[in-house]
């Protein structure tokens, strides 16, 4: 675009006669003012007299000037840089590669900073593993700007200085070492090579210290199984991009299973791309009890109780290994499925894989064995995942010893046992009794409040660090902002306590140079990239061949009452970030409930116990409570009747019920860790109904698609491969002169089309095959666009403000296609009443579909015509603009929006004590994106296609004198940038090389509600399900 060096002139004179203009430019006034004469000549100055009129003028001026000067305007103090830091230019974002691991979530990320202030998390595409942030990682930036953080070191509730703390602790540590009194060091999983070294040298200095790693949600059984089989205590790693046939028994690998980050790879195999007229895609069978995101994405989902899952796994092993094991029989239907699945597993050979989430060593052994038997290439034989190391046995031992008073001191970091232990009472008592208890913590949480010494720790965005999530794959964590408070990192303190004067940064650098990079020159590049891959790999080979014993053991387990499966929600994980309003307001992808956890139960069981969900007159969802009893522990939980929940099972998510170090608004839900007996996610429980009402904040109150097949178009792989596009993806038609004409044809358009072939024309493509419903885009959009949090009360009134929502629909018959058929078969009024009535209720094992919906940026937008003040109007580049300043708030646009994507500011959501979230907090406001205005009360808002970023891209290209690169725009939109599965692709369709242009040509493309004639700039790709053969099983 070198044409941009055009010359602009303000007048003709400027063009032709440059010298005169140049002269004028230097003079402020066209004519010289005669002030010099007056002041130079003293005589004339003295002679000049001030007459009465002038006097009055001066008097008037000076009086009013004095009055005006005395009215002080609001003073905003801003301190300019004394020395302008390099690379920080106001208005320009800087990106830093870093990585994070908090014991639960891990990711390699880029941090967007503005004027030295981190404001957003983005994916690090250089990373081979864990290169994409999930919803919680995206939200973690807000957790840094949490004014409830501990702002400095404390002893016994009083603020002290770091020097005092260090001195005290070193003194105590030394006296404990002298007496050889055992001290516990309880941390979350340490996956940092340098931290491990530091801890080791710390223990070397104080040999009386025992280090135990503790995962709040344990993966001990998987680790144990892996250790038994392969001799390496690590989690297996799967590479789903190689997978053609995936069988998952209870593994929520698109959710939180083992800290997984598999959705990107998984989605690659899920998009059917035609090669020589035939498309292939992976087939995914899910057997599970709770409805998980993974189950929702599966081609076939079979609800099974955990106990039956175990038996099923044992049988599967028996079948595949051809061993002769005497197992109890499966029921007939499940057995048929077993035969089908085992056949397909072997048939697909090394491109098939079995993953298993059953929390049982034997189950994990069998899973590994089956994968080895079928020679699965999906399960990596050279790489393992190192993000969980906790060993239940060691943790139990340590807790038992602590409770018995065998420890004289404890140091903790990254853990909150008082919250995450199933029965923390004795632990709490023991901890309270200890004289020497140190905790590294950011919040005054349940455990921290019981400790004597509180080391205020830094957020990962303020920290140095390094990680090895996968063997041989290293990541660097670098600070993106100076410590906001007087905080220190765990490792820094350990270094100083072990008498090492090096900083943690020095340690990392030398460790990397000596042991990882093996070079002094690669360090800067490693920092820049944030990741480094070495050739380090294992050769995992099983030493054992027969697992008949495990199969037998597994088949023995019998359950009596309800089988409870504890899980973690995408929004809350293990509850570390419970004080994060973005995550609290994040609707669960499956239940669409925000601000709560709950007991999920099947409809049949709920009816037999007397539990129900119902809607209030304003639509808000209510339930009664269930009393969940597990041995002597009782927990009162509200109930969500979950379609797809296996009968005889219930589910509860971790992460809620936090009570300390948390704002009162965020004290939501109940603590499911209390049911986490023996660190087992599967529990036997009894359920009783309590007739009290619970109020939910659910953003989607209607769960089915009502047979509206044109909203979510889908077909089967067979039809996709064999039939014409017109058959499975027809464009709706209207009648023109009694001839049916496709609605996208010019002749049926009543509007004059605007020529969009010049300049940029933005489109967003959403592939329903690739979207797993993970919700990372929802939080990314929240962060990018300063979307307000409105709180539980308002969400309950259907006033959530999310610009981007992920609609989740259940089929009401066994599949959506059956729903469509049922609707088409309606005959007569009474039939329609009964059929539509049935369609309101989801099936007991429904098909599920996710559909992200944001402003569709219609080229013929219904909202634009109805606004009386033209506050919303169309952009040259295809966006539907929203001028907040112009909006008077009639809400007509929202009413007339067929997609219902417009969000109204019902109240003032910032600086308002009624909405005491991050926008009512000076620190919380630091996360706001300065490029996006914070909307005031009474105006409409909605998705803008991140116009602030697309414009920045255009300007950058213009400054650099080049055209915008073909896919540069994709990272400008927060949602498409955050999307790790490639479900979303954003860009300029006038650039014929862009990804989005190519995608627009796809056969699967359709527009949402195309028949309305809105001509949206967002298009969807019809979902193709690979379930032809297994439809009936």
């Amino acid at each position: 675009m070198n044409k941009s060096l055009k010359k602009y002139w303000k007048s003709e004179v400027e063009l032709t006669n440059n010298s005169q203009v140049e002269k004028l430019r230097h003079d402020e006034f066209v004519e010289k003012l005669p002030v010099d004469n007056l002041f130079e000549d003293e005589k004339s100055l003295n002679d000049s007299s001030t007459n009465r009129r002038d006097f009055l003028k001066y008097l008037g001026f000076s009086t009013s000037a004095a009055v005006l000067a005395s009215c002080e305007g609001p003073v905003n103090k801003s301190v300019p840089y004394v020395i302008q830091p390099e690379r920080i230019r106001p208005g320009i974002s800087n990106y830093y590669a870093t990585s994070m691991f908090n014991g639960y979530d891990c990711a390699n990320i880029l941090v967007k900073t503005r004027e030295g202030r981190p404001i957003k998390i983005e994916n690090n595409k250089l990373a081979k593993f864990h290169g994409s942030a999930n919803a919680r990682v995206h939200a973690s930036i807000l957790s840094m700007y949490d004014s409830g953080r501990i702002q400095g070191p404390m002893y016994d509730g009083n603020n002290i200085s770091w020097e005092e703390l260090d001195q005290d602790i070193i003194k105590k540590l030394e006296s404990l070492r002298f007496n050889n009194s055992p001290v516990a060091l309880l941390t979350s999983t340490i996956s940092s090579p340098t931290s491990i070294k530091i801890i080791n040298s710390f223990i070397k200095k104080y040999p009386n210290i025992t280090h135990v790693e503790y995962d709040s949600i344990s993966e001990s059984s998987v680790l144990d199984a892996h250790e038994i089989m392969y001799g390496v205590r690590a989690l297996p790693l799967y590479e789903f991009k190689n997978a053609k046939y995936i069988v998952s028994i209870g593994a929520d690998f698109l959710g939180d299973w083992m800290g997984s980050n598999y959705d990107g790879d998984y989605a690659k195999g899920r998009v059917p791309i035609k090669v020589d007229g035939t498309a292939t895609m992976s087939k995914h069978i899910q057997l599970e009890s709770n409805m998980s995101v993974t189950g929702a994405n599966a081609d076939v989902r079979i609800p099974l109780k955990p106990s039956t899952q175990k038996l099923f796994l044992a049988h599967l092993y028996k079948k595949i290994s051809n061993s002769d094991i005497n197992l109890p029989e499966l029921d007939k239907k499940t057995n048929e499925r077993l035969i089908e699945i085992s056949k397909d597993l072997t048939l697909n050979g090394n491109s098939s894989v079995l993953v298993c989430g059953i929390d049982d060593v034997n189950a994990q052994l069998l899973t590994n064995a089956i994968n080895d038997l079928i020679n699965s290439s999906v399960k990596s034989s050279s790489k393992v995942s190192l993000i969980r190391k906790g060993n239940d046995k060691k943790v139990n031992e340590l807790i038992a010893k602590l409770n018995n008073g065998e420890f004289s001191g404890i140091i903790m970091s990254g853990v909150n046992p008082a919250y995450t232990l199933p029965n923390p009472k004795s632990f709490n008592d023991a901890l309270r009794k200890l004289d020497f208890s140190v905790i590294f913590s950011m919040k005054m949480d349940e455990t921290t409040s019981l400790c004597k010494y509180v080391s205020a720790s830094s957020h990962y965005l303020e920290s140095w660090g390094d990680f090895q999530f996968v063997n041989g794959e290293y990541s660097i964590c670098q600070p993106t902002i100076k410590n906001l408070f007087d905080t220190k990192q765990f490792e820094e303190c350990l270094l100083s306590w072990s008498g090492n004067e090096n900083s943690f940064y020095d340690e990392i650098k030398s460790n990397w140079s000596n042991n990882i990079l093996l070079s002094n020159t690669k360090w800067n590049k490693a920092i820049h990239d944030g990741v480094y891959s070495s050739n380090d790999s294992y050769n995992l080979k099983s030493s054992n061949n027969s697992f008949s014993y495990s199969a037998l053991e597994l088949s023995k387990i019998k359950s009596s009452n309800f089988e409870l499966l504890l899980y973690s929600k995408i929004g809350m994980g293990d509850g570390q970030q419970a004080n994060n309003p973005w995550l609290q307001e994040f609707p669960d992808p499956i239940s669409r409930v925000s601000w709560d956890n709950y007991l999920t139960i099947s409809k049949k069981d709920a009816e037999s116990i007397g539990l129900k969900n119902y809607n209030e007159s304003n639509g808000a969802l209510n339930s009664n409570y269930a009393l969940v009893k597990n041995a002597d522990i009782e927990l009162k939980l509200p109930v969500i009747i979950q379609p797809g929940q296996a009968n005889g099972t219930v589910g509860v998510s971790f992460g809620y019920g936090r009570m300390m170090g948390i704002k009162s608004e965020m004290k939501t839900g109940s603590n499911a860790f209390s049911l986490y007996d023996k660190f087992s996610k599967i529990q036997d429980v009894e359920i009783k109904a309590i007739h009290e009402i619970h109020e939910f904040a659910c953003v989607q109150l209607h769960n089915t698609l009502m047979g509206r097949g044109d909203i979510v178009k889908e077909t089967s792989l067979e039809v996709f491969n064999t039939k014409d596009k017109e058959y499975w993806n027809p464009v709706p038609v209207v009648s023109k002169n009694h001839i049916e004409t496709a609605v996208n044809k010019k002749e049926v358009n009543i509007y004059q089309e605007f020529d969009r072939s010049i300049g940029h024309h933005f489109n967003l493509s959403i592939d329903l095959n690739a979207c797993t419903g993970c919700g990372a885009c929802v939080i990314a959009c929240h962060a990018e666009n300063n979307v307000p949090v409105v709180g539980k009360r308002e969400v309950r009134k259907s006033r959530d403000m999310h610009w981007l929502r992920i609609d989740r629909y259940y089929s009401s018959d066994v599949s959506f296609q059956d729903d469509n058929q049922n609707k088409d078969d309606i005959n007569g009024l009474s039939d329609s009443l009964s059929v539509f009535g049935q369609m309101e209720d989801p099936n007991e094992n429904p098909q599920v579909v996710f559909q992200p919906v944001m402003c569709q940026h219609c080229n013929q937008a219904p909202c634009e015509t109805v606004c009386p003040v033209a506050a919303t109007s169309h952009g040259r580049q295809g966006q539907n603009h929203m001028a907040y300043n112009r909006c008077v708030g009639t809400r007509y646009c929202a009413n007339n929006c067929p997609y219902k994507v417009r969000r109204f500011n019902w109240f003032l959501y910032n600086n308002n004590d009624e909405f005491d979230f991050n926008m009512n907090d000076d620190l919380g406001k630091m996360v706001l994106n300065p490029d996006v205005v914070v909307r005031s009360r009474g105006v409409m808002e909605k998705c803008s296609f991140c116009i602030q970023s697309t414009q920045a891209v255009i300007l950058k290209a213009k400054n650099e004198g080049r055209e915008v690169n073909k896919n540069e725009f994709n990272d400008a939109c927060a949602c498409s940038a955050a999307c790790s599965t490639g479900a979303m692709s954003f860009g300029d369709i006038n650039n014929k090389e862009s990804e989005v242009y190519k995608r627009k040509k796809d056969d699967r493309v359709y527009h949402l509600l195309e028949y309305v004639g809105t001509k949206p700039n967002v298009f969807y790709h019809a979902k193709v399900r690979n379930n032809d053969k297994l439809k009936n099983i």
Partner: protein, 463 residues
Amino acid sequence: MGSHYEAPIRKPLVTGNKTYHQISVDVARPVEGSANKQWWIVFGIALALFVWGIGCIIYTISTGIGTWGLNKTVGWAWDITNFVWWVGIGHAGTLISAVLLLFRQKWRMGINRSAEAMTIFSVIQAGLFPIIHMGRPWLAYWIVPIPNQFGSLWVNFNSPLLWDVFAISTYLTVSLVFWWTGLLPDFAMIRDRAIKPFQKKIYSLVSFGWSGRAKDWQRFEEVSLVLAGLATPLVLSVHTIVSFDFATSVIPGWHTTIFPPYFVAGAIFSGFAMVNTLLIVMRKVCSLEDYITIQHIELMNIVIMITGSIVGCAYITELFIAWYSGVEYEQYAFLNRATGPYWWAYWAMMTCNVFSPQFMWIKRLRTSIVFSFVISIVVNIGMWFERFVIIVTSLHRDYLPSSWTMFSPTFVDIGIFLGTIGFFFVLFLLYARTFPVIAQAEVKTILKSSGDNYKKIRDNKNG
């Protein structure tokens, strides 16, 4: 105007052997006398409601629209329901005074003054809602096309809301002028009878120096005719344009070409019902039974019956078209209306608007004061539900089921509605005490032709 002959089979429009003087006395009586206890009680209640409504409006404006029950899916509910309801009620006045004037329906003379007053007062109520329903009502002037120099920008002439602004303001202006023109001779009559200097002063001001000369009367007649001609298209246009708010949208249940005539019929329907409600009480309280006779009420009941039937036809046509269109969203919208979660609102509407007016086929019922009064109230309840049904049940379940939700009003929604009712009655009660509630000058023109005594004399002479 009008001949002095009226067929003997026509019932007299003025009863009670009135003379010209008696008419003056009867009309001036409420103005000249003092208010009774009942007036004060009713006025007190209305004022209390009004004040409560003001409180709710202040609360809304100072806190936000969030104080109402609206949500992301249902962006309009009671606000626009009330707006359309009040505008609809405001239709009867102009219809009676303008259209019936052009059609030379003399019976309008007994009721047109109060009907027009009702029109103006209800349009005032209606006009409140488009302003207070805005998120930022202090910027309401932005929807007026005033030059950019004023600080606002040019408006969007595509928007039906803007058309509303013109429609309503034109209607209010023309109605007010028309009403006041008619009031001039009557104010002058009160002025001439007034004893207290203050009263005299006021009434001479508001009667604009009416002198009763032939020229005055001639101009009066001309202006009345011209204004009637102007106002007649307005009767049709106002509610047509209000219906465009919905008809031009893309929402199933709103996007309907039948809306303009359907809305106009509904408006006349509800307007006449409101006139009946008011006048049945007023004729009793102000002892105006001789001017607002059973025949007046009967005629209005017939209009109610006819327009009610038209509205009923429209409802059925909507259902038919929904089925006939073959559009599934359209079909579901109407199925949902009648059988969905708001079925009770739909059937309340059907019962009140379609079934109840059918009783008016029976002469005994339509000439019964009590029955007419009850039906007039029922009709307005039904018409309120009609707007609620159109607005809320269409919005709450539109295209994407994921956004489906429900609406429930808060105390503020209810408070503002009650407040406008209070405001309306405050205005009407004040009017009833200070204005000549019967167009006495016009009634006097038909006394000789339609007065019972004169008719009797004439009939006796002829017979």
